[in-house]
């Protein structure tokens, strides 16, 4: 029997939880069909998380592609189908060749498996980032550099801690529904060890009385703890945290059954969510919004 998992029309970090809730009762070897026919929009997080999901399955899953041409075309431009072909049995028509026209895709979905991949990624996005962050988000030059550093550090998180490869995508778009401003977004997802298991592998690790995915995320993201005892480790996520704070951005990290977020004034997310459906690895999202002097007074609209 094939279990059909419905993809919400708008697929982002929040609505992806609906996908995971449907998956939660199923064993890893259950046959599943990810039904994205009615998907209309997907964030970089949504697309990279879908690829990651396939990597968590013991049985090769199927995916029904979006019916709307515009959506399928965008997913193709983001290189989703290029990678999904290796992970899913794809059902339905989708563009086989990527449209290379003007796009909000700053970095199409890109696999990260080794350090050299990050050099290539950083080299690819620098000029385009400069145009988007200064020209469209109206932020200072310094924001471009910080964004690139943050991109590098969150990608390195995969190489250093996941124990296997992952995915990164960067996109800019107008976030009408929630913010009413342009944003530039990094999504980095892997199906690897996750923060709890990574920290547990530290020499001499002693779990605290309350040791779970949420505690591990607090250690890593808030306190800069790493599985390495080297004092210089753990600066990457700390740097990303400082960067999003400076530019009123948002950082969220999901791992296992928990998600931690650095929440800006424009958002009403919870700082720590526990008891989420189990999902392996780590999923990181960074959102930097367009400069707006009255940003702090805007509601999220969610």
């Amino acid at each position: 029997m094939t279990n059909v998992i419905a993809v919400p029309p708008s697929l982002d970090d929040y609505s992806f939880e609906q996908v995971l809730e449907q998956l939660a009762p199923l064993p890893a070897d259950a046959k599943i069909l990810i039904d994205a026919r009615h998907a209309r929009w997907a964030s970089p997080y949504g697309l990279t998380a879908l690829l990651t999901l396939a990597q968590t399955r013991a049985e090769r899953p199927a995916l029904a592609v979006p019916e709307l041409d515009e959506t399928a075309s965008y997913w193709a431009r983001a290189a989703f189908f290029q990678h999904a072909e290796a992970l899913y049995d794809l059902h339905g028509a989708y563009p086989k060749r990527r449209d290379t026209g003007e796009s909000n895709v700053l970095l199409e979905i890109t696999p990260i498996a080794k350090s050299d991949d990050i050099h290539t990624i950083v080299g690819q996005v620098q000029e385009r980032l400069k145009r988007i962050i200064q020209g469209e988000l109206k932020l200072e030059t310094k924001a471009v550099l910080g964004f690139t550093m943050t991109l590098s550090e969150v990608c390195q998180n995969i190489i250093e801690h996941a124990g296997q490869g992952g995915w990164v995508a960067v996109q800019s778009y107008r976030w009408t529904k929630r913010l009413g401003r342009r944003v530039v977004v990094i999504a980095v997802c892997d199906a690897g060890l996750g923060f709890r298991r990574s920290l547990e592998s530290a020499p001499g690790h002693l779990p605290s009385a309350r040791w779970d995915d949420a505690a591990a995320l607090e250690e890593a993201v808030i306190r800069g703890v790493s599985r390495f005892r080297d004092r210089g480790r753990g600066q990457g996520l700390a740097g990303a945290r400082n960067y999003v704070g400076r530019w009123q951005g948002k950082l969220s990290v999901r791992s296992g059954t928990a998600r931690i977020a650095i929440v800006p004034p424009w958002d009403d997310d919870v700082p720590l969510a526990e008891g989420l459906p189990q999902f392996p690895g780590a999923q990181v999202q960074v959102i930097i919004p367009e400069h707006a002097p009255a940003a702090a007074s805007q509601g999220s609209g969610r």
Binding site: S115, H119, K142, G232, R233, G236
Partner: protein, 191 residues
């Protein structure tokens, strides 16, 4: 002896690609530091003290992990009692695009370095007020004794000597025949 290491050149040799000008990733940083240490070893073969300019002029950006490897670990290794050589560093070409990452790792490890700017050399990072003032006096005065620095600062000679000795251990001041010379200061005689 004054040596020069162009970090961008070392980076290109290390990652074997002429297109890369970004110092990113910890593994790249470790490889670049390894190559810098090999070059320092070659310089050291000439014997004695060596002042080396670490030149970031052609580096586009550096991330935190790479700064930790290239800057922090380099400074710590040569400030250690078991350092492989008598090496001092003057950092050149560090601009705003590099500074966030470098200052973060200096803060994290409690380190300081001598930085060349358009208007001269200054020390940056984590220093006590006494160390900062003593370094400035030594830099302004040239080759000096502790008494000269104490006189300049209106301080006790013992206090000035303590600060200068601390700066020597941190590789920010050289000891030359009983005198002190700030790294980046003009006069390095008696080598």
């Amino acid at each position: 002896m004054m040596n020069h290491i162009d970090v961008s050149s070392v980076l290109r040799q290390t990652v074997a690609c002429d297109l890369y000008s970004n110092l990113v990733t910890r593994s790249t940083g470790a490889a670049v530091r390894g190559q810098i240490e090999r070059l320092l070893g070659d310089f050291g073969d000439a014997g004695g003290r060596a002042l080396t300019v670490i030149d970031f002029s052609h580096v586009a950006m550096i991330d935190f992990s790479c700064a930790d490897e290239v800057v922090a670990k380099l400074l710590m290794r040569y400030a250690d009692a078991d350092a492989p050589g008598d090496a001092y560093f003057l950092f050149r070409g560090v601009n705003d695009d590099h500074w966030d990452a470098i200052s973060a790792v200096l803060d994290r490890h409690g380190l300081a370095l001598a930085l060349e700017a358009d208007d001269g050399v200054r020390v940056v990072g984590v220093l006590s007020d006494d160390e900062r003032r003593a370094w400035r006096a030594a830099y302004d005065l040239g080759r000096v004794g502790a008494a000269d620095v104490a006189s300049e600062l209106g301080a006790d000679t013992a206090d000035a000597e303590r600060a200068l000795d601390s700066l020597c251990r941190r590789r920010l001041v050289m000891r030359v025949d009983g005198d002190y010379v700030a790294v980046g200061g003009g006069f390095i005689g008696g080598q």
